[in-house]
Symmetry: C2
Subunit: 255 residues, 2 copies
DNA sequence: GAGTGGTCTAGACCACACG
DNA sequence: GTGTGGTCTAGACCACTCA
């Protein structure tokens, strides 16, 4: 009684808290600003820390907050748009885009990948790992699966292991003039390996982009790229910037 | 001491639990099968219920589990591939695709949308809500923003409110031969309104697809579609089925 | 009404970053 | 060392589904 109760369904505490915090972020905080610590925020709102954390998790999922252990919680900058598919479906160039080869190896393709490659389930394929850097930040870790049959000349290449050899494999692929007719995007959680590259904890939400590369009607490679879901907005098509462009000023975040 | 400790970094309890459960799902459970309840699972693994739940949340995020309050936790079927962008970029037909109009109204476009529409910030635009059904299940809720200038003939249309009028607006849009040069995908959480349509709780993870529709170089409409991240894999390009196709049998899930 | 998952509490300790 | 977020516990109660 007396309280203005308009909602028929009283929303849960953490959800309401999320809304309150979101509004506070809009009005009272600048990008990069550090929030009070969780214990203080919880006390301030009169909830248990776990409840507050549930609200913060939501906001982090939405890309509004960034939390780092040992450091604190800061207001996240708007998500960066990363072009995943351009109209000219060229193989993403080694240097035009900020892809950085890590290493090369061979492994049995996972079942899902083997199906796309139309190879035997346990067949050994080449793998190339690389990461994508945007604005000085790792935004994606990619694993490319390449059947030996796609790069027969590779065996003739002598190169040390590591980045150099990875680069050699990528060069071979580029010569093939690959087409990327199909891509799929789904939600996943970062495996420990990817999490390390992306500077996140294992289990962090990621957008998994699976691409089938085709040459002359045959699947020549499959790549599985995991993008940080908190910081990335994947763009497809034309210019690649369906830009939620900020006003001209204010590109820089508070130090 | 004495315990076989091979890992340099001991993984957290819930992450390890996630792995154990994932393996159990692969080997001992069929799609649709109901897991023991959370209290029993927690007891069985000797952890607190909250810890077990953290592991289940991960698996749900990855689309491996489905949890429903009052019912239980079941093994999820593989994600369905939903075609978001086809090579022929036609306006998604009213009936070829399973889009079902809900209602129509007018509202001030949110700032981000207004920017794409190149209209004034607070300007009133038409809105159409519709949901997408695949295999008898709601997979997406969409809100389309249409400036009045894009559908001038609309004022002449007399139609009752609700689905009928929504359909009328969509028909007008179809006549325009819209092109969709740009799309963006990002992670979000379901607002209460969408959550209801999608049969999920507020805050459930969703993939937000923002599309700019263009006719004659001018932005004629913007749609924001939220897809259930747990059940959907978004496909772009060619056939629309970068199908992680199951073996021919076993399309049906256990009742 | 019985049983399920969802929310919430009030603690404790751990892992990490930084001065 | 100090302060941060991350993990974990052992409870309690609530909201929902279904027989």
């Amino acid at each position: 009684m007396g309280t203005t109760q308009l909602q028929t369904v009283p929303e849960s505490k953490y959800w309401h808290l999320r809304t309150v915090l979101a509004e506070a972020l809009d009005s009272d905080f600048a990008v990069g600003e550090v929030l009070p610590n969780e214990r203080e925020l919880a006390a301030r709102f009169g909830v248990a820390r776990a409840t507050l954390r549930q609200a913060l998790e939501q906001l982090e999922l939405e890309g509004r907050l960034q939390r780092r252990r040992g450091v604190g919680t800061t207001v996240a900058p708007p998500r960066v748009g990363v072009a995943v598919s351009t109209p000219r479906d060229e193989w993403p160039g080694a240097d035009e885009e900020a892809w950085q080869p890590l290493d090369h190896g061979t492994a049995a393709a996972p079942a899902a990948v083997a199906r796309l490659l139309e190879t035997g389930e346990g067949e050994e394929v080449h793998t190339v790992r690389r990461i994508r850097i945007t604005n000085g930040q790792s935004v994606a870790a990619e694993l490319i699966y390449v059947p030996s049959s796609s790069v027969p000349e590779l065996s003739a290449i002598e190169a040390p292991s590591g980045p150099a050899r990875a680069r050699a494999v990528l060069r071979e692929l580029q010569r093939l003039a690959l087409d990327a007719p199909e891509r799929a995007v789904e939600l996943g959680s970062a495996r420990a390996e990817d999490a390390k590259e992306l500077d996140r904890l294992p289990g962090a939400p990621v957008l998994v982009v699976t691409t089938r590369y085709v040459v002359a009607g045959r699947t020549a490679a499959v790549s599985v790229a995991t993008y940080r879901a908190d910081t990335c907005r994947l763009t497809f098509g034309d210019s690649g910037d369906l830009e939620i462009s900020e006003a001209p000023e204010e590109t820089r975040q508070a130090s």
